[in-house]
């Protein structure tokens, strides 16, 4: 039996429960009498749970993907395919392939809104920075976007959670995350932009937001559904910066 030459590959498949029943019987029989084979199996039988445990921790650190807003992928009204069903479908297919209107290219605010829409209270509830890490993060985002942002971490009534540098079209986009007293996740985002605009309120992805710019940078505060909270906080940020 043992001279049948059971390869490491076959032993691996045996450990992974990926062998045919007949092979399993053959390997079991060989293992029963072949010490060398037992030794090889033991060497291959490395514990995999530590890898899985560590990888679960790693997944928890994954950054959320930044997706274009759902509205960029349009729906079409039912009425288009009227008349004879078959002809309508064929015609519809041709029209759709040829004439699908190009959706308006989403801007940075749309991307930030899609990203922020994935935030819940739990996303930020567990985040507690040490003073050193907090200072390092603030220094790093200030450098990234080319203006001091430390003051924005001390907004009355908001619990500052973390700051990170994302990217939009190759430009650094800073995101500062907060929880309001009621646990609403808010994001304050800064990108460099030569543009000047007064503070205005808007809605994106079902979230309240306010945006303004000062000639060198554009700012966006977004989160929750309370326009009052957004307005008050945006004014505070404006005066802090």
């Amino acid at each position: 039996m043992s001279e049948e030459n059971i390869s490491d590959e076959l032993l691996t498949a045996y450990l992974d429960d990926e062998v045919e029943a007949a092979d399993r019987v053959r390997i079991d029989a060989a293992l029963a009498e072949d010490e060398e084979l037992q030794g090889r199996l033991a060497l291959l039988d490395v514990p995999l749970d530590p890898i899985r445990d560590a990888m679960a921790q790693v997944a928890a650190q994954a950054p959320a993907p930044v997706l274009p807003p759902a509205s960029a992928q349009r729906r079409f009204p039912l009425a288009v395919a009227g008349g004879s069903l078959a002809a309508g479908l064929v015609l519809g297919a041709l029209l759709m392939t040829q004439l699908t209107p190009a959706p308006k290219a989403p801007g940075w605010i749309d991307y930030v809104a899609s990203y922020q829409a994935l935030y819940s209270t739990e996303t930020l509830a567990g985040v507690e920075l040490t003073p050193e890490i907090r200072a390092a993060q603030l220094a790093s985002v200030s450098t990234a976007v080319g203006r001091p942002l430390e003051a924005a971490a001390s907004v009355p009534g908001l619990d500052f959670k973390r700051a990170q540098t994302l990217g939009f079209n190759g430009k650094p986009l800073v995101q500062m995350a907060y929880l309001s007293a009621d646990g609403v996740p808010l994001a304050f985002c800064i990108i460099s932009k030569e543009q000047t605009a007064e503070l205005k309120q808007l809605q994106r992805e079902g979230l309240q937001a306010a945006s303004w710019s000062d000639g060198s940078h554009a700012y966006l505060l977004i989160g929750g559904d309370d326009p009052q909270l957004i307005e008050t906080t945006a004014r505070q940020l404006q005066s802090l910066l």
């Binding site: 032993l11 691996t12 498949a13 992974d16 039988d45 514990p47 890898i51 790693v58 759902a70 994935l118």
Partner: protein
């Protein structure tokens, strides 16, 4: 990179448009809804594959965007996660890998990859770093296969489809990975004995 559409992909695209036309849940909706659960798994796969946090961020992000762009080609009822891992694998091999190699650096030690995270206690950080360093001792082909089969729980056949390789190759990569990890473990045990 956008390859020309094959005939079956073309019809899938048409079908996707009809489904949208009739007001059913579109492929894009399915992909978009499935993304939040799959994205962290893609990112950790990308991290182990590329060995660099910045490249992993790019790879995971590009994969999510590409999946949305190509949502019409996804076959509803099949596994979204496998489809997305396949996309990640292709983007890595066809687009990002050569750039990463050109940029230099290659695999960086875990500490330098910025993986030690503020959210974790010190002990967990050390444990995670050790496991990642150990994974880094394996060649890339083995790392990706170990991730798909042992971490993601894909069957050999499924991993073979994601990686576009024969099942026998999956088996030999896993055997080689187990042998390396087993030897290291044995070494550790005799060191600490």
């Amino acid at each position: 990179m956008s390859e020309p559409l094959g005939v079956s992909e073309y019809f899938n695209t048409l079908r996707g448009r009809f489904i949208r036309l009739l007001g059913k849940k579109s492929n894009a909706d399915i992909v978009r809804e499935g993304l939040p659960d799959i994205a962290p798994r893609l990112w950790r796969y990308a991290l182990v594959l590329t060995g660099r946090r910045d490249v992993a961020d790019d790879l995971a992000q590009n994969t999510c965007l590409r999946a949305l762009e190509k949502a019409d080609q996804f076959q509803p009822g099949t596994h979204l996660d496998r489809w997305m891992f396949r996309i990640a694998q292709r983007i890595w091999l066809n687009e990002l890998r050569s750039q990463t190699v050109r940029r230099g650096g290659g695999l960086v030690p875990v500490e330098d990859a910025g993986l030690v995270a503020e959210g974790m206690d010190a002990e967990t950080n050390i444990f995670v770093s050790q496991v990642l360093s150990r994974m880094n001792t394996l060649p890339e082909a083995q790392r990706s296969t170990v991730m798909l089969v042992y971490v993601e729980g894909f069957a050999y056949r499924e991993a073979a489809e994601v990686l576009d390789i024969p099942i026998g190759t999956v088996m030999s990569r896993l055997a080689a990975a187990r042998a390396t990890l087993g030897k290291e473990l044995k070494q550790d045990q005799s060191d600490s004995a």
